[in-house]
Symmetry: D2
Subunit: 333 residues, 4 copies
């Protein structure tokens, strides 16, 4: 039974608390949060104790820590937790600073403790089936990947300002997806972004609509589209063209009911946002972490993956500003 | 907190045990089974006690009983449990004998205790959305209902022999669905059945493929198709034609991946069988039961509904044998 | 070059005139109609001559006659045209009277001239693909056929009164489809019909909503649903369950545009009615007729097929009135 | 009756010959080709005369000329035909040289004769419906356009060598589609291309897989994906994200049959290539040309549109080579 401490009792912390508690081989023992009331409420719901971060990190009986705090604390907690021998599952991104993330990567690696980054989409049953079919060679050699990833509505401007920007905050998921599906990291990155959805986002120095192309070895290409606003719901689709066919993974819709009237034929919308669409993916993510940690096998997503995705985000941010293609070698150093 | 005793620790009992335990307002306290080992294992898994049926029924601290035993015991347990003041959720069908079911209905009604029959499909999100849209008048007046309900593979012949036949065992779900969606019970029933899938089913006096038409008041019609074998998976669809449109609820598929190759465009199959397709419906069913029992509100499915569906099954069985349309008045008495 | 005379310049006559003229191996030489103005206009459009029926039938230079006149004249024209040595393509139904149709069948057979009945749906690319896949054994042995066939709106009452009723006028297409797809004629027929759409249809002694089950040898079943009103358009679908799978042929929709908004995901409607849906099928039907007649090969649809479908319509009409299953032997005599 | 001369009796010339002949208000009077035998055969099929280009261009009774010759002659024929007072419908592209195309544009404009470029996709019923819905404001302000355009198989290397490259030969259609749908021309172009499908294409200095982003005013973006190989058929899709929703136009498939077996659920493939997919679009294109020319109304596609698309192709070619975003002002001069 894996004893788990949860750092962060916010929206995503609650999702993880449920996944940890529902898993037959893990138990939530402690919850911390900057808002002690939130920690207390969540701990109570699952029979855990509210504690301070320090108390959790220094408790030798705790095997693993789930980091669901604000982004600027991720690196510190990864380092602290691995230092005290714990396995870590940390929410994305590793950090907003690539340099800081690399330092964390180095420090954590030295401890040889398992650190997984929470790229939950890899555990979506649809994307996983697409990846598996591609890996089985069902469409031959993969050549051109397309990812559509639209949020239903933009976050508040206050969040935008501290988010690190669309590429680090939102498209980082897609960067990881692209590397995972293509089985490689890109050599070059070309980005274009604009603020169409909300001019305040542009005023805050960010974009809300963006298209990024990733250039892989041997001429393989990935193109990622992001928008902060798709009023019909969370639009999460992947298409992969290969030498022998096309694989596509579509949206999960709210129900299968179709209504035909004089006004047309109406189907249900995509599930609204990430909590709806990826609820089962979070459970599968946690199960994969528990299995790897308890069996000592390879993690399905690593801290290296987190640093790679952040480096691509860094390159995309630079490319969108200059209009020039960015060589990943100049970013990775 | 509703304290629940579970009678029956077989396949469907396990599904219910999980639903009872996962619900925040109910607790599984005891499990019985003719196979004591099965009861012990299931009880252990959820922190409940293995007990005899009698011990459960006579325990005044138990508020509700879930009956998931073999069909021939349903009526007895409904009567016994209501007599000792418990709320009951009983798996379908109420009984194989309509006369016995009616006696049970009368006895249970005298206790005024809530008895719900486990017509789980009403709680499927897709069918529920269709029903809600129809009730909101989105397609005007409903006129012609079609239900397609195919199992992936026929049950063993040993099961067929004690099942009461396709109409009582399998199509009874669809009879209930038809009455629920149409908001009425039929006046006449016309059935045709044959044994195509497996001649042994025919030799056992049953059919494996059947079409039943239900004649409702004002000329409204429902047609139900059943087959014991759809090799591609559990095929569960509903279509409702109304004066202002058509509503249809399609299958739930395993994932949204589509593969296009020279061989065609391939999508995933429907979820394999009822455990996959209706797992969430079982949880919703239990939640509806808990809410009605704890709040004292009307049950969404009643023992009367169970008796009605059984009466239609009786009529269908008779019609399939004689080739004549059966007036429900002759069955309901 | 097949020289063709067209009897009837109404709505369906115009469709055939176009098909005849567009075919590289046939030429429309003459057109007749009870309304001479209509014949003149249509003839002018395609460089043909307006003539009387008699003039067409007695012209030895005319190779083939297309009968698109009112139903009550079909048998007479089939007999007259075959007597004068012409090949005939006649619109459905052969006649409203089964006895008259059988007499016509006998008379025409004696001439050994080719007579094809215009069951246009067999030439729809979608239904033809389904039939071909079934014949190739792609779903094993076919067991349960379902045909959904809804018109967008009921015809005028004046038409209903002379139509011979829904079974002879509308469902006759589906009876032919069922026999064609199943590769057999049914042994028994069970029908249920009601007047829900328009009470005047009921007052005229007809039904507007009906479900018919056809019992084939070896327990195979077909079920046909008809409604005179599907406000969203012409609903024409076929599903065939076999021992190794399911084939379904869906509607043809107006375009592939899908619109996702907060109101849902909206697709185009089915093509509105038979002229839209089956325009290409009419051309393919004509091409098949020309090929068979010019090459002397077997017709894809025969006068026998027309008589068979009419006999099933007769049985269905009787079954719907009595509530009893009708043995086809009692109808075919 | 518009009298039409057709220059070019190759594959696409044949398509146009049929469209011209089928239109009630146009007549094909003459056909030319470098292969006189081809001209003779096509002319014979439609009752036209085989002639030389010069004879067609100098015949004052010919009202309009359809240019379906090899690309390097397009500009010359546009100039010659407009000089002799004819209306022109010319296949894309106007020329491979932007400078030459601009000179042609200037010369043709001086004659004030109508010149339409054959961007046939605008006349596809699906894309036209998407454009109309967008223009009606059904998804608010359009923000992000995506075009997927994959050929089933690459052309022969001999063709690739004279084609002007993927951007001028293939993606030029999509450049026109993007400008048409967005109702604007782009300000900047970023392109990435590679040769993955066939190394010989790369050796010939061309790409076979490419992604281009078009930057429009106000931050609006279009992204176009091209591949020379989609083994499952001609993949032609458009998606447009707007402030109030998403419009997408999907592929047209060969038929609506779906087969469900243990192997999955198989649908038909997209129609194979442009002749299948766009046959009706060619007829609609011709009808639009005839209507504009005979009524003297504005052409739906102009020579200016052809030059614009070519300029974008020029910019894309340059961007793909340099890796830098290209400002359209530097191309348009």
């Amino acid at each position: 039974m894996l004893k788990v401490g949860l750092l962060g009792a916010g929206r995503i912390g609650k999702v993880h608390a449920k996944a940890i508690s529902s898993h037959p081989e893990s138990r939530l023992v402690a919850v911390s949060d900057v808002d002690m009331g939130a920690a207390e409420a969540l701990a109570a719901q699952y029979g855990a104790e509210p504690r301070s971060n320090e108390a959790i990190l220094s408790d030798p009986s705790i095997d693993a820590v789930l980091v669901a705090t604000s982004t600027n604390t991720h690196s510190d907690f990864i380092e602290a937790a691995t230092r005290t021998g714990k396995a870590v599952l940390c929410e994305k991104p590793v950090d907003l600073s690539l340099a800081r993330a690399k330092a964390c990567q180095k420090a954590a690696a030295a401890t040889r403790r398992p650190v997984m980054i929470g790229f939950n989409r890899r555990f979506d049953v649809n994307f996983a089936a697409l990846k598996a079919a591609s890996d089985r060679g069902e469409i031959g050699k993969s050549e051109l990947l397309s990812i559509t990833s639209f949020d239903p509505a933009p976050p508040p401007i206050s969040y935008v300002k501290v988010s690190g920007g669309l590429f680090r905050d939102m498209m980082i998921h897609d960067f990881d997806m692209a590397c995972w599906i293509m089985g490689a990291t890109p050599q070059k990155v070309t980005a274009i972004g604009s603020s169409i959805v909300n001019p305040e986002i542009g005023a805050a120095g960010d974009v809300d609509t963006a298209v990024v192309t990733l250039h892989f070895a041997a001429g393989r290409i990935a193109v990622i589209k992001n928008s902060r606003r798709a009023v019909y719901g969370y639009d999460q689709r992947v298409e992969l063209l290969g030498s022998e066919g096309l694989l596509s993974a579509g949206n999960v819709i709210e129900n299968t009911v179709v209504k035909a009237t004089t006004a047309g034929v109406v189907s249900a919308k995509p599930e609204f946002f990430f909590l709806e669409r990826y609820m089962r993916a979070y459970a599968a993510e946690w199960a994969a972490f528990v299995e790897a940690v308890t069996k000592g096998t390879a993690l399905p997503v690593t801290l290296d993956d987190g640093v790679n995705a952040l480096a691509i985000a860094e390159a995309a941010t630079r490319s969108a500003k200059t209009g020039a293609t960015v060589d990943m070698a100049t970013v990775m150093g």
